[in-house]
Amino acid sequence: MFDSFLTRAALAGLGIALVSAPLGCFVVWRRMAYFGHATAHASILGVALGMVLSVSILWGALAVALAMGLAVAWLGRRGHSSDASIGVLSHGALAFGLVAVALTPGLRGDLSSYLFGDILAVTRGDLAVIWGGAAAVMALLAWRWRALLTATLGPDLARAAGIDPRREELVLVVALAVVVAVALKVVGALLIGAMLVIPAAAARPLARTPEAMALLAALLGAASALGGLWLAYLFDTPAGPSIVCLAAVLFAITAMVPRRTG
């Protein structure tokens, strides 16, 4: 059943949507959107490095995304979480990545597939990587869920309960790097941030608990992935952007739902 490229694309999109949902919720709750972008942009540099050092592109992207995540977290801890310094890191990484890709023989033609993803070219091996990474990250988040939520409410609240908020931040940094690396092929470096933030934000008005928000985000993300693929097939549009378009439309719809109170 994995033989059809459309089936593989659907499974890849589903895997990314499922893991992006809970992680994306934390990105929204902790206002880490910039963090997601910086990590994703850095992965382009990792692609080029992986190629040059002839290690796999996946490991290159993972390593550089992780390094960027740690750098941004470190800056944040030193009180530099301002837009300016993160912006420099994020766009700097993207620009260096683009230049590095251009200088790397054999990668040049592939650039747009790393920027926007090439979900229709997903192989069985890619599927294994995506679902393996997604399962690992979901297990990590499930394991740390309450500690992560407590740390999200406030570092002091976490400390008083014996939770190290820096360790929980590290958990999110690692999870983000893994998701960025495995999603690179599906949605591309420019749209990973969208897959993280949009379904979670779309789920917000419908949810009254953190868990409900994560589940709804997963549902909306999965619907966007499958529906977006189908639209891309129908209208011959690029798959990654079509998925994000549908997610944005779902966001606009749920944003009009009046928030329940009481």
Binding site: R146, L149, D156, R159, T209, T261
Partner: protein
Amino acid sequence: MSLVALERVGVSLGGRRVLEGVSLAIEPGEIVTVVGPNGSGKTTLMRLVIGALTPSEGRVLRAPGLTVGYVPQKLHVDPGLPLSVRRFLSLPRPVSRAEAAGALEEAGVGHLAGRQMTELSGGQAQRVMLARALTARPQLLILDEPTQGLDQQGSAAFYRQIEELRQRHGCAILLVSHDLHVVMAATDRVICLNGHVCCEGAPAQVASAPEYRALFGTGTQGALALYRHEHDHGHDHAAHAHAHGPEDGAADARGLALDAAGPHGAGAGPGTGTGAS
């Protein structure tokens, strides 16, 4: 054995000295109140006690396995985070429905269980945080300005309740307050903080001294007098040891100082280096 002991602790934040030479110990079951003007380092002191800050000098000793219930001065819940009061109580430790209901009832907010955290008023949020702290079955309950969001009646009732909390839960309570005259009756010991421990003592002993009436008085005027007294301290720590104003010097000399006053005072002086054991 003390629950928490600070030994000559100093803290610098953002390159500024915020606390200096602070020594104190909290014993099981005692109620200790910290008073001081805005920016005097009260919240910083609470954060030291819960371990959210590491001191740049001195050390903080905690009894092994100490459980702390912490009610921060304020809690900002991001509007992007849907969180009911009931769910908030189960963070990080899951609590049963009955336990949650009991704690909310005890904090006087039993009717709010289904509400969203982002929809609470300041005073309601503070009571909900108290309920959450109680479900941790704390040995030490830390309340940073627990009455700031409460109306006057509410805060008077709250201080009456503090004693009940101690009786029922058997915990020590460390609290920050501005309502000096109200809190005096409800506390075993008062610590007056302004970057350093200005004075400390059992309120009964302190209150019986005529100097106390002159400084603290009763009612708002007394509170204002205290603030004047505290503002006489500079934050210029090179000079502060001898920068006490005349009122303060008088107070120190007549037994308001922590070394001299209170059943716990003897071991808790800034120079005595109380151990946690």
